[in-house]
Symmetry: C2
C-alpha cells in the first residue's frame, strides 16, 4: 500500500511532486471523456521518469504474435492500445531556461483532480533567473464536444521580470513502451500550417485490420485574444511559439484548444476540414463556457450516481474516484467502444474489451446509468458475433467463443492457457443478458439479438464438454478459471456451473424468443434434448466433508495453507514467485468458486455460502483488482462485517493506495465498479430477480451514514443508511421493495 494523494471527499490532491512515484501520480491524475484520454503528464515536459500516454477510444494496432513456440489456434496478432499523438505539450521557457520540474527550482507545488467534472489543476512557483513566477495549469477533456481538449496556463509573476516563451505543439512521433520493442505505430501523413493541424496514420499491417488516420489541430489564445505564434513543422509534428514579457505583479494566460478526429468517424480526406470546423466552435465557446457545460453534464451524472459516505473520508474519496474514472472511460456514447481494463490511463493489457465488462461493469451501470448505456454494452457483443464464431472455429469448436481480449470480436491475446482455456468468459456474456433483462424488465434484447448470442454460446459449451465414461458424467477439461493462478485445470467448478447455467437459461428463453430469429437459429428438439442431458449429467466437484464446492478436480490435494502464511516480503506473489510455484500453490488470485456463488446467489444456502467463503477466502491473495469486491459482497451477506469493510477499503482505494503495486502502469478501470458493488450489493444488500428488488442494509461501524441512488425500471430510488435505513422513491411509478425481507411500498413524495 502506498498513498501519495491527500484525503478529501471531492478532490484528489497533493502538495508534493513525488519524483519516486511520478508514474503513479500520472496514472491517478489521468482524465478522459469516453472519446479520448490522457495520463497526468506535464504540459511543459518532464525529463525524469515518466510514462507518456494519450489514448483515443477504438484506435489500436494489431501487432504480430511473437511466441517462442507457435501453437495451432494462436491469433495472428496481439491487439494493442497504442499511444496516440500527443497534444498536451506547452513547453515553457523563462528568461532562456526551459522549465522542467525534474531540474528546475520550484516551491508550492499543488496537483488536484476535481472529481466534480474531471478538471485537472496544477500549480507551482518557479524560481529562476531574475524571476519568481506562479504557474497554474488547468485541463479538461470536454464532454460537450468530445473531440475537444482544453488547456490553460496562467502566469503570475511574483518577483522580477520574465521573458516567457510558450511552445505549444502537436506530436505524432510517439512510441509504446509496453510493446517491449519501443515500436512506433504511427507514420506522418501531413502537417498543415493553415489549419494548424497534423495528420497521422497507423502503420500498415498484414492482417487486414484497417489503418487509422487521425487529425489533430490546435488554436492558441493569449489573454483571451487569438494569437498566431511562430509556426514550425517537421514530420509528424507542429509547433507554435508565442512569447510574452511580464514584470512583477503582471498576469498572463495561454489557452490551447485542441480538436482530434479519427477515421472511425471522419473520412481522412475530410478530417482537416472537420477539425477546423470543430475548432472554430470550441474557440467561440471558450475555455470557461466549455468548463461550465462540463460541470453541468457531470452534475447530472452525479445526481443519479453519487454515493455519499459520512464518517470515512478515505472511503468517500475512493468511491467517487472510481465512479468518476469509470464515467471518464465509458458513458455509453459510442456503442463501438467498451470499457478497457486501463481505460485511457495506460497502455498495458492491450485490447479494449475483457469479460470484466459483463462481470463487473454491467451490474453497476444498470443502476447508475440509463438502460441504454448497458444495452449498448450488450449490443457491442452481438455486433461482434462474427468474431466470436471465428474464435470458436480457431479451436475446431461449434458456436461462438467470445474473446478474452479484443477490439473487434476476434481474439487478440496469445497465451494458450488464457486464449484457449479461460473460456468461462463466454458464460459471463450470457449472464450479462440475464442481468440486463432481470434488472430492467426489458426483454426485447434477449428475445432478438440476445437469443442469437445465447444460442451461439450454448452451442459452444455443448461442443466443449466431453462425456467421461469413467465417471458417467459430462466434464470440462483443460480450462483456466477466474483464478488465473491455476492453468489448465479440469472441472473448474465455476466454469462447469456457469456453462450449465447458460444451457439452462438458453432453454428457458428459447420458447419466448422472436419467431423469425428462432427460425434462423434452427435449434432442433434433439439439440435441446442434448443440452438438457448435459445439464442433468454435468459433473460438479464437491467435498461433502467440508461442505464445499471444489475449485477443480485436484485442488484439495494441494498443500493447503492460508495466505497469511506467505512472508510479507513475498507479496504480491505474482511479483516474487516463479509461475510454476504460483500454479501449484493453494493461493487464489480472485474469486473463483465464490464468483459463481456471487453470480447465482439465490441458488445456494447460507450454510453453503459460509462454508465456501471460510474455506476459500483465507487462501485468496486478492492480486486481481477484481477480487476484493466480490469477497466484500459475500462477507457482507454472511454478516462478516469487519471483513467486508476491510475488503471494501481494498477495492475502493485499490489505485489511490496502490494496493497491488502496479498502478504506475495505469488505473484498474474495470474493477472500479467493485467499490460501488461492495456498498450497494454488499453493505446495502441489494438483490433483484425478474420481479423483485430487495435490500438488507447495514452500516459499517466506522461510518455514520451512507447514501446512494439507483435507476430502476424508470424510477430513481434514494437509499440512505444510517442507524436506520430510509429508502425514498425520487421519481417514477410506485413500487414495493423488500427491506430485510419485509415489503415496503414506495411512492414519490408530494
Amino acid at each position: 500500500m502506498k498513498r501519495i494523494f491527500e484525503i478529501d471527499p471531492w478532490i484528489v490532491k497533493t502538495h508534493e511532486l513525488d519524483v519516486e512515484n511520478k508514474r503513479l501520480q500520472e496514472s491517478i491524475t489521468a482524465i478522459g471523456n469516453g472519446y479520448m484520454g490522457m495520463r497526468g503528464n506535464f504540459e511543459e515536459g518532464y525529463s525524469g521518469d515518466t510514462l507518456q500516454g494519450t489514448y483515443l477510444g477504438g484506435v489500436w494496432f494489431p501487432d504480430k504474435t511473437r511466441v517462442g513456440w507457435w501453437k495451432n489456434g494462436y491469433p495472428e496478432y496481439f491487439g494493442k492500445a497504442i499511444n496516440a499523438p500527443a497534444f498536451n505539450h506547452i513547453g515553457i521557457t523563462v528568461n532562456g531556461e526551459k522549465i522542467d520540474l525534474a531540474t528546475s527550482k520550484f516551491t508550492d507545488f499543488y496537483l488536484a483532480l476535481d472529481m466534480h467534472q474531471g478538471l485537472l489543476t496544477r500549480s507551482y512557483v518557479y524560481h529562476g533567473h531574475d524571476a519568481a513566477i506562479k504557474f497554474t495549469f488547468e485541463r479538461f477533456l470536454s464532454n460537450a464536444v468530445q473531440e475537444a481538449a482544453l488547456f490553460k496556463v496562467s502566469v503570475d509573476v511574483l518577483e522580477g521580470h520574465a521573458d516567457i516563451q510558450f511552445d505549444a505543439s502537436l506530436d505524432g512521433n510517439v512510441v509504446n513502451e509496453d510493446s517491449n520493442y519501443d515500436e512506433q505505430f504511427w507514420q506522418a501523413l501531413e502537417e498543415n500550417p493553415v489549419a494548424h493541424s497534423i495528420t497521422m496514420e497507423t502503420i500498415p499491417n498484414p492482417f487486414k485490420v484497417p489503418q487509422f488516420t487521425v487529425t489533430l489541430a490546435q488554436h492558441l489564445q493569449l489573454n483571451g485574444q487569438d494569437v498566431e505564434g511562430v509556426l514550425t513543422t517537421a514530420s509528424g509534428t507542429l509547433n507554435e511559439t508565442v512569447t510574452t514579457r511580464l514584470d512583477a505583479g503582471e498576469h498572463s494566460d495561454l489557452v490551447k484548444s485542441v480538436v482530434v478526429v479519427t477515421s472511425r468517424d471522419i473520412e481522412p480526406e475530410h478530417q482537416v476540414e472537420r477539425v477546423s470546423q470543430l475548432l472554430d466552435g470550441v474557440v467561440a465557446a471558450g475555455f470557461d463556457e466549455l468548463l461550465n457545460q462540463q460541470t453541468a453534464i457531470w452534475a447530472d451524472r452525479w445526481a443519479t450516481s453519487d454515493v455519499v459516505i459520512d464518517g470515512d473520508d478515505a472511503a468517500q474519496q475512493g468511491i467517487r474516484f472510481n465512479i468518476s474514472q469509470l464515467f471518464m472511460t465509458y458513458y455509453g456514447d459510442d456503442p463501438r467502444l467498451n470499457v478497457g481494463p486501463k481505460g485511457f490511463t495506460g497502455e498495458k493489457y492491450g485490447g479494449a474489451t475483457y469479460w470484466d465488462t459483463e462481470a463487473y461493469i454491467v451490474p453497476m451501470y444498470l443502476a447508475v446509468t440509463k438502460p441504454e448505456v448497458t444495452h449498448a454494452l450488450l449490443q457491442y457483443r452481438h455486433d461482434q458475433l462474427p468474431g466470436a464464431f471465428h474464435n470458436a472455429q480457431q479451436q475446431n469448436l461449434a458456436g461462438a467463443l467470445y474473446p478474452m481480449v479484443t477490439f473487434n470480436g476476434i481474439e487478440a491475446h496469445n497465451e494458450w492457457e488464457i486464449t484457449f482455456e479461460e473460456i468461462h468468459r463466454n458464460a459471463a456474456i450470457a449472464f450479462a443478458i440475464y442481468q440486463y433483462t432481470a434488472y430492467t424488465g426489458d426483454d426485447t434484447y434477449v428475445n432478438t439479438d440476445g437469443i442469437e448470442v445465447l444460442v451461439a454460446i450454448a452451442r459452444f459449451w455443448a461442443d466443449r464438454v466431453h462425456f467421461s465414461q469413467n465417471a458417467g458424467k459430462y466434464m470440462i477439461h483443460g480450462v483456466t478459471g477466474p483464478n488465473e493462478y491455476e492453468n489448465n485445470v479440469n472441472n473448474n467448478w465455476y466454469t462447469n456451473t456457469m456453462a450449465s447455467w447458460v444451457l439452462e437459461y438458453t432453454l428457458e428463453r428459447l420458447p419466448k424468443a422472436n419467431g423469425a430469429v428462432l427460425a434462423k437459429l434452427a435449434v432442433s428438439d434433439d439439440e435441446q434434448a442434448h443440452w438438457q442431458d448435459i445439464i442433468d449429467r454435468m459433473y460438479f466437484p464437491t467435498d461433502e466433508k467440508r461442505g464445499i464446492f471444489v475449485q477443480h478436480d485436484t485442488f484439495l490435494d494441494k498443500d493447503l495453507r492460508p495466505a497469511a502464511s506467505i512472508p510479507a516480503d513475498q507479496r504480491p506473489i505474482n511479483q516474487h514467485w516463479s509461475w510454476d510455484r504460483i500454479l501449484r500453490s493453494p493461493f487464489i488470485k480472485q474469486a473463483d468458486v465464490l464468483q459463481g456463488i456471487y453470480f447465482l446467489n439465490n441458488r445456494f444456502t447460507m450454510a453453503q455460502k459460509e462454508a465456501n467463503f471460510d474455506f476459500y477466502e483465507p487462501m485468496t491473495v486478492h492480486e486481481s483488482s477484481l477480487s476484493a469486491s466480490i469477497h466484500a459482497i459475500l462477507a457482507a451477506e454472511l454478516g462478516k462485517v469487519d471483513k467486508a469493510v476491510e475488503l471494501y477499503a481494498r477495492t475502493a482505494r485499490l489505485d489511490l493506495d496502490n494496493y497491488n503495486n502496479d498502478t504506475d502502469d495505469g488505473l484498474h478501470i474495470t474493477s472500479m465498479s467493485g467499490s460501488w458493488l461492495a456498498i450497494v450489493q454488499g453493505f446495502a444488500g441489494m438483490r433483484y430477480n425478474d420481479t423483485q428488488l430487495s435490500f438488507k442494509p447495514f452500516l459499517p461501524s466506522t461510518w455514520t451514514h451512507y447514501a446512494f441512488k439507483m435507476n430502476y425500471r424508470g424510477r430513481v430510488l434514494a437509499i440512505d443508511v444510517a442507524d436506520t435505513t430510509t429508502i425514498k422513491l425520487v421519481a417514477g411509478e410506485p413500487i414495493t421493495v423488500l427491506v430485510n425481507d419485509k415489503p415496503v411500498r414506495l411512492e414519490v413524495e408530494a
Copy 2:
C-alpha cells in the same frame, strides 16, 4: 509418409531433383563431422525453395525472450543455433548463363550420400548455349582435420564448347529463417585478400554471453594446380573468380578447400594465422588423400557399430542412415559439445542439448562407442552444474534443475509449461549416470563428479514435492510429462516414479562415494531420512481394475478413444488441432508411463508391462520422433512381434520416409538411436544390470538375418540372429552372458 530416396544398403540416392521436396532432400543429404555441418544445399546456388544451412558446433546466439506476457522465472534469452557463414558456394557460369537448377535445362540428375564415410556426390548433364556438360560435385567434411571442408567440381564437356566461370566464395551475410524475424546474427570484422579469409563475429547481446568470432579461408586448385582467381571482397564476403575454356571431350576439375576456426578454440587475433596454417596442411594432403583418411576413420567406426540386416533393404538403409548421421553429429571429440536434436541439419528447436541425450543417445553410445564417448556426455552435465543450480534458483527451488534446452547449462527455452514444468528431464540426467555405471562397470564417475550431480538433483526433487495432508502422500503437482500433449498435470506417474528412483539411487550410492566429495556435499542424516520418507510415501496413481499405472491424476476421466479413431486427414494432430483440443484429448505424443517401464524395466512384471502397453499404445500418436523406438522395444519384449516390426520401421526410417511430415526442417538426430535400440534392446532383447548382460533374441519374419556388434567392458561382442542366434566374443576377456535366461560362456576364438 513420403519416400524420395531410393532403397540401397549403403547409399542414400535419388535420380530426381524433387523441386517440391527440395528442403526434405537437403535435410536428408546433410553432412557433418562433429565440429561443423551443412544441409545439402547446392554449391552453384538454387533460386527455388530452399533452406540454406551451415552450422558450427557450439556457436550460438542468445536471442531475447519474446512473449506476450512475461512470467517470473522466464529465461532472459532463447538460445538459438544460428546459421553460420556459408562456405559451400561455387557459382558456375557457362557461356554467360549462370547455372541454376531451378531454371537451367539439365538431365541425368543424380544425388547420393555414401554412408561409408559421409561423402556427398551429385551430378547432372547441363544443356546450355553451345554446350552439353556433365558436372559432378563431391563434398565431405573431414574427420581427419575437423576444421576442413572439401568440395570438388568435375566438368566433362560432352558436346560443344564452354567458357566456364567459377565463383568460389565465402559468405557471412546469412540469416536465420526459424527466428521468425529473419534476423542477422553476424557482423563482418574483416576480409583478408592475402589469406583468402573472412572473419565474422556474432552481434552483441545484453546477456553477458560471449560473442563468437569465426574465420573462414578458402583455397582453390584447378586440375590439381593451385590457382589464384580474381579476388573481390565486400563486407562479410569474399569471392574468387576462376575461368577456363573447354571443348567437347575435355575435362577439368576445381577443388575448393575450406578451413573454419572459431573463438571456441582460437583467439580472434590468431585466427587468420591459424586458418592459413591449417589450410596449408589440407592443401598439401589434397582432396583424395583426405578422403582416403576419412574412409579409414569411418571403417573403424563401422567395424564396431554396423548393424547388418538381410531381407529388408529399407530397414538396412534406415539403421545405417541413422548411425551415420549420429556419428556425423557427435563422436565425443569435444566434451563441450552435445547431441542437438537437429544436429547440423537445421536451425529448428534452438539449443544444443536436450534430455534426449541421456534418454536415447547414452544407451546406444555405451555399446557402439568407447566408454570415453559416453563419459564425455556425462562430464558435460557435471561441467554445467552451475547453470543447473541457477535454473533451480530461478524457480525458488533447492538443488539443481538441468535445463530443457541449453548451450551452457542455463535454461534457454521460454514456455512455462516446458521450462518450468517438464522437470522429469532432471531424472534422466541421473539415470544416465546409473546406465553408464551399470554398463561399463566403471564407478569412478559416479563416486566423484557423478555423486555431485546426483545429490544436486535429489535436493531439487526433495524440495519440489509437497506433502498432501488430504492424501497423506507426497505429490508432485504442475508438471509436463514426457507426453508433451498434456501440460501442467498433477502426479504424472513417470515423473513421480523417476523422482523417487533418483532419491533411492542417490541414497544407494552415497555410502560408496569419494570421501572428499561427500564432505563437501554434506548430506546430513536428517536429509537422508527425509529423502527416505519421500520414497516411502510417494503417491503413484494406479488403477487396480485395469491393472495399470495412471499417466496422471485425471487421465482416466478423459474421452478415452484409440488413435485409430482420428481421421487420417487430421494427422499429425499437432499440425491440425488447436492446442487445447490436443491437451484434453487422450492422445499421447510419446511414451510416458511406458517410458518409465522401459527405464526401470526389471521392476515390473510381464503382466504389468502388457496391461500398460495394451492400454496406452493404442492412444499413442507417436508424433514425437522419440516415441516409436521405446514402444518397439516393449512390444518386442511382450512378444508383439508385428507391432515391434511396424514401430521399428517408423523409428528407423522416420526421416527417410518423413513420417511426421517435418523433416524438411532438418533431421531428428537425437531420435536416430531409437532404431538401434529397437534392434538391440527390442529384437535381440539385450538387457544389463550391474553384473549381468543378457539377450532374448528373435528374428522378424520378413528378415532372414541381422547382426550387430557391441562394446562391453573392454570386449567386442558380435551378435548374429538368424533362425538361430550366434553370439561371438571378438575381443576381450571371456564372459558369461544369458541368452534366453541360460548362461552362455563366450571366449575369443583362436
